[in-house]
């Protein structure tokens, strides 16, 4: 039985005491899972992700990462998690290598492993020659690649991504997918949101569909999809609830 990496129980988050962005959401991500989180714009995906990564506080419910509470053991949880937001604004006053070294220091990655991983991922994503330049000189895709390398630098138990493939060229997208499989093969888990249903269908072994803050479908991709495509299922459950 695979270990539970991420457990969300009855998560609720309300903005300005009026709008419930997430309403009583529960799900579990196990070791080895690539868990896709799908929903329309404003459904509550980013709110959920922010709550999981400790970036946002929440009103009710509990979130555990490898058994540790995000509220009570936040530092411990963050040390096991890597997060890449949908628009990774990085420190533009640093060079790529300075940023990666900074992240390495924050996550206390030993020198040898740090250098090996930066070399490995930097060469894979073809970013190494640019690591000496300021991040302010990077294109959007290069910033995305830098954020990806920084996320994989400490080999997190849980990798949380918000729209990770936006802005990546086809080769980088392909490389990222391989990196994700490789990470999960080592016993970690990935939880990511996307609008691109074809990617979710091919990449994810588990799917959750959220609408207006509520979880309306979840489980193995094959079970959720059935005989239809994920797109058809998504449109049907979203329209049905309307």
């Amino acid at each position: 039985m695979a270990a539970d990496i991420l457990t969300i129980r009855h998560l609720t988050k309300t903005y300005n005491k009026e709008k419930k962005a997430v309403d009583d959401l529960s799900l579990t991500v196990q070791a080895g899972d690539i868990y896709g989180f799908i929903g329309h714009n404003g459904a509550g995906k980013t709110t959920t992700i922010r709550a999981v990564t400790g970036v946002m506080d929440f009103d009710q419910g509990e979130i555990f990462i490898c058994g540790h509470s995000v509220k009570k053991d936040s530092v411990q949880c963050k040390s096991m998690t890597a997060y890449i937001p949908d628009n990774p604004d990085l420190y533009e006053h640093l060079t790529g290598i300075q940023y990666l070294n900074f992240i390495g220091d924050i996550f206390q990655v030993p020198r040898q492993e740090r250098e090996e991983r930066i070399r490995h991922y930097g060469d894979l994503l073809e970013l190494t020659p640019n690591l000496g330049d300021l991040i302010s000189s990077y294109s959007h895709g290069m910033k995305q690649k830098t954020a990806i390398i920084s996320a994989f630098l400490h080999q997190p138990r849980l990798l949380v991504l918000d729209e990770p493939f936006v802005g990546l060229d086809p080769k980088a997208s392909f490389d990222l997918k391989n990196m994700m499989h490789e990470l999960c093969g080592k016993g970690s888990a990935i939880f990511f949101s996307t609008h691109v249903l074809e990617v979710a269908e091919k990449l994810c072994n588990k799917i959750a569909i959220i609408k207006n803050g509520k979880l309306i479908a979840s489980g193995n991709t094959q079970d959720v999809r059935g005989d239809s495509s994920l797109e058809e299922v998504f449109l049907e459950v979203v329209d049905h609830d309307a």
């Binding site: 006053h93 070294n101 900074f102 030993p110 020198r111 250098e115 930066i118 190494t128 020659p129």
Partner: protein, 525 residues
């Protein structure tokens, strides 16, 4: 053209101070922030206006009212030079919507005119606050003719033009020089600081600084201004003698200078912005052995780099301690007993000596780096929010930057003040203790204020560093925490005891605020 210029200017105005955001999406928190900003602005304006009127009245009292027009022009020039110099880059060059604006069917001249109008408007506001009270005091005391009153009125609007042109050209020059360097921000900072200090040193050059007659001192200052800044001499002749010829010449010079600048800037505007937007890339990086640090040192190093990457941040925060250093050096050569002769107040020198530990507080409290360090995280704040470090570690790294920058200057200043003023043993101890304690206090207080009044969705650091609510509140706190001990020292007639008490008080407040900081959790709202 004017219609398009007005449209562009309107967009800038709505953006400044967050007016449009307040109108369309203002939360109650946002409205409170704007109200505080407004109240703070009004208080500051009243303070400046009061000081301006007081200074003008001083000249009238000494029988030197005819020097006031020159001094007003000088003040206007100083305000405009410094403001434009510090603001120029963010408004005129490299603004975030440059691409969009320049792709519109408008000429470069129209864009430049709209941007310059914005800078001129800001300077005009400051000039009105500084010059109107002085003008009223002067006009009443000198019993001006109607034509002189008319000239004074138009002077308010003309005075900023020449300094605006000069400061803009200096901005361009410094930017052009810094473009040749990899670390262009550091070069900009160094050149800007050099220029500001040259200007300050030059403006303090008068032939009779050792005069014990304050009237002679005032006259010498006025003569120096007229000699080194010819427009001041023109204005002085125009207003005092109601000379329309001199006023006409001043008007012609001011408008011609401004138009010339507009023409030149329009011609090279696109090229300048392109050069500014270009970034140095070298490529070909090869991985070397990496230096490993603790999380705290990594955060501290990141903070320090952040600080020096933003010239407006450096210039805004470092001026206070550099002025303190300059004053301390000057006081090494100044005998406090001269004050007694200058002000005709026996014992003034001894009082000044006993208040010495309180002098540095004003400069230290002007603008600590911490009062905007949280806001400056901006869109990057997700990094520290998701980082596996205690929040207090993040805070301490920011506080440490302020301490490492301010404490050496404070200690050197205290030493120079002790030497220059020849303070006694106890006073010397307090001269070190109070400023050091106060530096810690203002560092933690600045951070706490920024946590209460954060501003994350900025497009330019200028909005945070110069116009943020936290910066304003912090500055007011700085004034209050300087004035209160001085007032108490005078009230209780025992500066030593009062200084000792406030040293302990600020130390206790520092610890209290630090404990409260430890309980703070950082989250996206």
């Amino acid at each position: 053209m004017m219609r398009k210029c007005a449209l562009l200017f309107k967009i800038q105005l709505l953006q400044q101070f967050g007016i449009n955001r307040l109108i369309h999406s203002g939360t109650s928190r946002e409205k409170r922030r704007m109200l505080l900003l407004f109240i703070g602005g009004v208080l500051l304006a009243l303070l400046l206006a009061g000081y301006s009127a007081g200074a003008a009245y001083g000249y009238v009292y000494l029988g030197l009212e005819d020097l006031l027009p020159s001094m007003m022009i000088l003040i206007s020039a100083m305000i405009t030079l410094v403001t434009t110099f510090l603001k120029g880059n963010g408004i005129l060059f490299g603004f975030h919507d440059y691409d969009m604006i320049m792709s519109l069917p408008v000429t470069s001249f129209t864009v430049v005119l709209s941007r310059m109008a914005s800078v001129y408007g800001m300077n005009l506001l400051f000039n009105l606050v500084a010059l109107v009270p002085a003008g009223i005091v002067y006009g009443s005391a000198a019993e001006l003719s109607f034509s002189s009153w008319v000239m004074l009125f138009f002077l308010l609007f003309l005075a900023p033009l020449l300094p605006l042109a000069a400061a803009t050209l200096l901005c361009i020059l410094i930017t052009a020089v810094s473009l040749r360097f990899r670390h262009r921000n550091l070069v900009t900072i160094l050149l800007s600081l050099t220029l500001i200090f040259l200007f300050l040193a030059g403006s303090m050059q008068t032939s009779q600084w050792d005069s014990r007659d304050i009237t002679a001192l005032g006259k010498a200052a006025g003569d120096a201004v007229n000699h080194y800044y010819p427009p001041a001499s023109l204005v002085s002749k125009a207003v005092v003698s109601s000379s329309w010829a001199d006023f006409g010449l001043f008007t012609l010079l001011s408008i011609a200078g401004a138009l010339l600048l507009l023409a030149v800037l329009s011609l090279f505007y696109t090229r300048l912005n392109t050069l500014l937007g270009a970034v140095h890339t070298r490529g070909g990086y090869q991985l070397k052995e990496l230096r490993v640090s603790t999380p705290f040192r990594a955060l501290f190093s990141k903070e320090l780099r952040r600080y020096f990457s933003c010239s407006i941040y450096v210039l805004n925060t470092v001026m206070g301690v550099l002025l303190l250093l300059a004053l301390s050096i000057a006081l090494v050569f100044f005998d406090p007993s001269q004050l007694e002769d200058l002000l005709n107040l026996p014992g003034a020198g001894q009082w000044f000596r006993s208040l010495a530990p309180l002098i540095p507080l004003f400069f230290i409290g002007l603008s600590p780096t911490t009062n905007s360090s949280i806001s400056l995280e901006g869109k990057n704040r997700w990094i520290i929010y998701s980082a596996p470090v205690e929040t207090i570690t993040v805070f301490v790294s920011k506080i440490a930057v302020n301490l490492i920058l301010f404490l050496p200057c404070v200690l050197v200043s205290s030493l120079l003040l002790a030497l220059g003023l020849k303070t006694g043993l106890l006073n010397t101890l307090l001269l070190f203790a109070l400023p050091v304690v106060y530096t810690f206090f203002i560092s933690v207080a600045g951070l706490m204020i920024n946590l209460k009044f954060p501003l994350y969705d900025w497009e330019s650091e200028y909005a945070v560093v110069k116009r943020g609510t936290a910066v304003l509140v912090s500055m007011l706190l700085g004034f209050l925490t300087t004035l209160v001990p001085i007032a108490a020292a005078i009230l209780f007639q025992n500066p030593l005891a009062v200084t000792a008490v406030f040293t302990l008080l600020y130390a206790a407040l520092t610890l209290w605020i630090y404990q409260r900081l430890k309980a703070v959790k950082l989250f996206v709202a």
